[in-house]
């Protein structure tokens, strides 16, 4: 049965994005907001907003029972979790299911399966999807040393229970592994409540390539080409592009097929992303993880494929037959997204919440800005500091890069510090223009050059 009224359990630009996608499908929207967001753009645009709790996320956007109560009490029949917050909590998806609400995401069991990195690796193995040579869980330093010897240095430790850089340490020798293992496990335990680690071979010059898919929950899965998100700082993506211009057409087909092979056996439902590490020297790609949610960078795939991924999420969540056939999805052009963040790159990327006194976003052909900001709006200090996504699309990568440069130059944000100057610096950097970057380029090349250019210590 189609969704009639949707509760949106998120905030910021993605809440606005979901409200608009739902309205375009004739679905009524109820936005659950914290007290800090009662006057936000999404609250204004939604048919109704309900204040569920105080500003702190744990009392509002992370309080699953309260959100479900709000959904039922306002007559909603579905819940969209957006990204972050409760989007990948299996227990929340399960509670929605039990309350008779359509969870706009995967089945709870799927979230559980792909959220456990070791289980996900087993899934990849049985699907014949290549992985970086790695290990099952590693309990002790001695185990780690023995296993690392088999894999070959350098190795990287990873947390079984989550990503985002927590529990990740690169060791180039047994000595380095011995000294860093316990700290990595402790960090994973602190971040995810589970200190279980595993080891992987570390690729020095790697690219981050990921495939966007949508599955209907009945075994049909289509892909919307791939993205290159190699420009990262401490495993946080800064710039995302589609397609991955570095890959040959044959490789592009292979990586997309690998993503489908991996998720078909579990009849994946929802939009999702399969992340791969790509070794440019050997032209090999390796499975990293599955993200079972809509992602921040989904717009670049939308731009080159000409579809609305949030609307597709709403279709498959309520079991509406997918009208999508792979042959109908024909990527064209090149799209680049940059994340505009309320932070000061000259002050160790310190977050800079506050009131925006002047906001003027670029517009025009090939320019899209996803945001919940405007002049006079407060960036609250309680949440993620991303304030906008600038998405530019052109005929090819060069065209898109030129458009990115112009769009960034005309973007005006006053009242708070942002990373726009850094993004402008990237858009003019020869390595970026010539697409010679990797996942560690920002730390190795970009930041030192940017800081010295700005005369910072």
């Amino acid at each position: 049965m189609p969704i009639k009224r949707l509760l949106i359990a998120n905030r910021g630009e993605i809440a606005v994005r979901i409200v608009r996608a739902a309205k375009a499908k004739g679905i009524e929207t109820v936005l659950a907001v914290s007290a800090a967001d009662r006057d936000s753009m999404a609250a204004t645009e939604a048919d109704r907003a309900v204040v569920i709790g105080p500003a702190a996320a744990r009392d509002s956007y992370l309080n699953g029972d309260m959100l479900i109560h709000a959904a039922l009490s306002t007559g909603c029949d579905a819940v969209h979790p957006g990204y972050g917050f409760l989007s990948e909590r299996a227990a929340f998806a399960e509670k929605c299911e039990n309350a008779g609400l359509n969870f706009v995401g995967p089945k709870a069991e799927t979230i559980r399966l792909v959220g456990d990195k070791l289980a996900a690796r087993a899934l990849a193995r049985s699907a014949g999807v290549p992985m970086v040579s790695g290990s099952e869980k590693v309990d002790t330093v001695d185990d780690a040393l023995r296993i690392a010897d088999g894999i070959g240095f350098p190795v990287i430790t990873k947390a079984s229970a989550g990503g985002g850089g927590r529990g990740m340490v690169v060791a180039r020798s047994p000595e380095e592994l011995r000294s860093s293992f316990d700290a990595a496990s402790h960090e994973a335990k602190e971040a995810f409540g589970d200190g279980t680690l595993y080891l992987e071979r570390f690729v020095e010059r790697a690219r981050h390539v990921e495939v966007q898919v949508v599955g209907d929950g009945k075994g049909n899965i289509v892909h919307f080409a791939e993205r290159d998100c190699s420009l990262q700082r401490r495993y946080q993506k800064m710039v995302e592009e589609a397609p991955a211009a570095i890959l040959s057409p044959a490789l592009r087909n292979r990586v997309s097929q690998a993503a489908i092979d991996l998720l078909s056996p579990i009849s994946y439902r929802n939009a999702g992303t399969v992340e791969f590490l790509y070794d440019e020297e050997t032209e090999q790609f390796f499975f990293m993880e599955v993200n079972a949610r809509i992602q921040v960078e989904h717009p670049v795939s939308e731009q080159i494929c000409g579809i609305d991924l949030i609307q597709r999420q709403l279709d498959v969540a309520c079991g509406e037959a997918s009208e999508l056939a792979q042959d109908d999805i024909i990527p064209a052009g090149h799209s680049i997204e940059v994340r505009i963040i309320a932070e000061n790159p000259l002050d160790n990327f310190r977050p800079s919440p506050g009131r925006i006194t002047n906001w003027s976003a670029p517009s025009g052909t090939g320019i899209r800005v996803d945001t919940a900001m405007a002049s006079g709006v407060m960036v609250p200090p309680y949440y993620d500091s991303m304030i906008a996504k600038l998405i530019v699309t052109g005929r090819d990568r060069d065209d898109a890069v030129a458009r990115l440069r112009d769009a960034l130059d005309s973007f005006v944000i006053e009242g708070i510090a942002t990373n726009i100057d850094l993004l402008r610096f990237i858009s003019r950097h020869p390595d970026f223009i010539e697409n010679r970057i990797d996942t560690r380029w920002a730390e190795r090349v970009l930041l030192p050059e940017f800081l010295s250019d700005k005369g910072a210590p």
């Binding site: 009224r5 109704r48 907003a49 309900v50 569920i52 709790g53 309260m66 709000a70 009490s73 306002t74």
Partner: protein
């Protein structure tokens, strides 16, 4: 005399909600129903003491009243943090979102009535979230002067619930 069931009321609300009527009144022997899509209307009707549907707390499975004003914003007369506190009065606000109940259980007498004296630690209502019922305390010793919310209504965080005149 009349045999109006909660299911009938539910069906009426759904029809009303889906249609383009703005207002609906039904009066039978011992039954009155007033539906309105204007959030301001509930205050104007019957002195603001009742909400759109006045059914006993637990006899309707779905808390129907709040489903009606689909397009109401957060800022109606009592729903916002901007509520003007009358001079010398103390206002007790909802500690979180939930369903407001005046009685400890269906059919029981309300915790408090207008004019009743309360202590700071007197329970004055329940807020329910997913079958978890949490009593709310008055927070101040005084006299209940106004009850701003109807039984079984969804209240948002910070919504004013009671006006209490503190003891001098």
């Amino acid at each position: 005399m009349t045999n109006v069931t909660p299911e009938d009321v539910q069906a009426l609300i759904e029809l009303f909600d889906a249609g383009d009527w703005d207002e609906l009144h039904i009066t039978l022997d011992d039954f009155q129903l007033h539906l309105n899509k204007d959030p301001a209307a509930r205050r104007a009707w019957n002195g603001g003491e009742r909400t759109v549907v006045d059914t006993p707390a637990a006899s309707v499975a779905t808390p129907a009243p709040v489903a009606v004003p689909a397009a109401s914003a957060t800022a109606d007369a009592t729903g916002s943090a901007d509520y003007q506190v009358p001079d010398g009065m103390s206002v007790l606000k909802a500690p979180n979102l939930g369903t407001f109940y005046r009685s400890p259980k269906p059919g029981a007498a309300p915790y408090v009535e207008i004019g009743q004296k309360v202590d700071a630690d007197s329970d004055v209502c329940l807020i329910e979230v997913m079958k978890l019922f949490t009593p709310v305390k008055a927070g101040v010793a005084g006299t209940i002067r106004e009850i701003l919310v109807s039984d079984a209504e969804l209240v948002e965080f910070d919504r004013p619930l009671f006006v209490i005149e503190p003891d001098a």
